[in-house]
């Protein structure tokens, strides 16, 4: 049972700013980590690093025992990122966006359609994403996340843009993911929602681990 993720002295620099500075962390598989901290504390940078979007400036990241940089081709099918960006094409319809991802994953299109129905987007599945509200775009992004059946789910401010009903659904989703054995990393500054969902906690301040 290797650890889902291990960070060894990881730092990430943008020009002169250290977005993350010498962070070390271990999260066993199936656990869930609540990541808190103010804006610019490095939460998003950490999630993007875990999603293998870019490489750390110093240090090493191991995901499921594999190096996140050299092994990223093999790791990416198992990782899903729900970030500020929805990864959607505004000119395509909701269905086309999801079917595209399904094909890239080698999944049947029916699976994408089923998820669209389940997330309440069935009625507007054939409308361009351009016409969708922020809340609906978030739901569509959740469909993309679920479509991957991730072993590692990275959620960046998942409660943003959601109405109370939506927040409840999101909490429900996180529990489902954990029960399905997925490792979850949930970054939010709305601590009250995340507290009950996660087994462990990390507070970031200016890119470094700190006390809450």
């Amino acid at each position: 049972m290797s650890n889902a993720l291990e960070l060894h002295d990881v730092s990430k620099r943008y020009g002169r700013i250290w977005a993350l500075a010498r962070l070390s962390l271990v999260l066993p598989e199936g656990q869930s980590l609540l990541l808190t901290g103010h804006n610019g504390s490095g939460k998003t940078t950490l999630l993007r690093l875990l999603a293998t979007l870019f490489r750390p400036t110093t240090g090493r990241i191991l995901l499921f025992g594999q190096d996140a940089v050299s092994g990223r081709e093999a790791l990416r099918p198992r990782i899903a990122l729900l970030g500020h960006h929805t990864f959607l094409y505004d000119d395509l319809t909701a269905r086309e966006n999801c079917v595209l991802l399904a094909r890239l994953l080698g999944r049947p299109a029916a699976e994408a359609n089923a998820l669209l129905e389940r997330l309440g987007l069935g009625a507007r599945a054939d409308e361009a994403v351009r016409t969708f509200s922020a809340g609906m775009r978030k739901r569509l992004a959740i469909v993309r996340l679920l479509l991957k059946r991730p072993s590692l789910a990275l959620l960046d401010e998942p409660f943003g843009e959601l109405d109370p009903a939506g927040i409840q659904e999101m909490e429900h989703l996180v529990r489902d993911l954990s029960q399905a054995g997925a490792t979850v990393v949930l970054a939010t500054h709305q601590v009250e929602h995340g507290q009950s969902l996660c087994t462990e906690r990390l507070h970031l301040a200016a890119g470094r681990a700190a006390q809450a």
């Binding site: 990416r76 899903a80 970030g83 000119d91 890239l104 080698g106 999944r107």
Partner: protein
């Protein structure tokens, strides 16, 4: 838990080409604008180069390819602006989709669009410059396709780079035009030979140069594009 078998490189590329062509179809208002822009360039060159039809007939090949070159800068820039909305390109990388498949798909989709632009311009050119495809439409179509492919391959690599840089609208043509000179020279010469006949059988060497240019930059793009998108 993982019954799915992700598609290979070429099938991924095919899925992405269909996506790009669908995107171009959905935003066909942009494609139409591009065609009219190219037509305007042809008219502009014809007026600028003077009413003398014998000269215009001789310059017809150059006019065609200058119009396509100018249109290609807009098409290439646009093709990556679409990918930057909602960081869609990152979404594809994380899907995961192999960056080389991304290159093949984007370059091919851009080439298809340029061929369409060329196909619309040609009849207008036939009228304006009173030229005719002496060596046959087949040869003309061949030159058009080879030339557009030659523009699309390096153009896609440069468009990906420029899309993240400052003042990208200046940077893309500044990088692309000097690079494409051999391709545009060869395409324009080959096209002129189609229009005016090829007594000394030179078009073989021009098409050879165009083919070699394609070979070099499709393989170079295939090898280097991942370094551009993968950080």
């Amino acid at each position: 838990m993982r019954p799915s078998a992700p598609p290979g490189l070429l099938s991924t590329a095919w899925i992405l080409v269909r996506k790009d062509l669908l995107l171009e179809w959905r935003s066909r208002a942009r494609a139409n604008a591009l065609v009219f822009f190219a037509l305007a360039s042809v008219l502009l060159f014809s007026f600028a180069l003077g009413p003398d039809t014998t000269f215009l007939r001789h310059a017809a090949g150059g006019t065609l390819w200058l119009a396509i070159l100018l249109a290609s800068v807009l098409a290439l820039g646009e093709s990556f602006r679409v990918e930057q909305e909602n960081a869609a390109l990152d979404g594809l990388r994380l899907a995961p989709a192999d960056a080389r498949a991304l290159f093949l798909a984007k370059a091919l989709a851009n080439a298809v669009l340029l061929v369409l632009v060329g196909a619309v311009i040609l009849p207008v050119l036939f009228a304006l410059a009173s030229v005719d495809a002496v060596l046959g439409l087949g040869r003309l179509a061949g030159v058009l396709v080879l030339g557009c492919l030659a523009i699309a391959a390096p153009g896609t690599v440069y468009a990906a780079i420029a899309s993240h840089a400052r003042s990208r609208d200046v940077l893309l043509p500044l990088l692309l035009f000097p690079l494409l000179i051999p391709a545009v020279v060869a395409a324009a010469k080959a096209t002129s030979l189609v229009f005016e006949g090829d007594p000394m059988l030179q078009s073989g060497s021009w098409l050879g140069l165009l083919g070699a240019f394609n070979l070099v930059y499709w393989s170079l793009g295939f090898a280097l594009f991942p370094r551009v998108v993968e950080d």
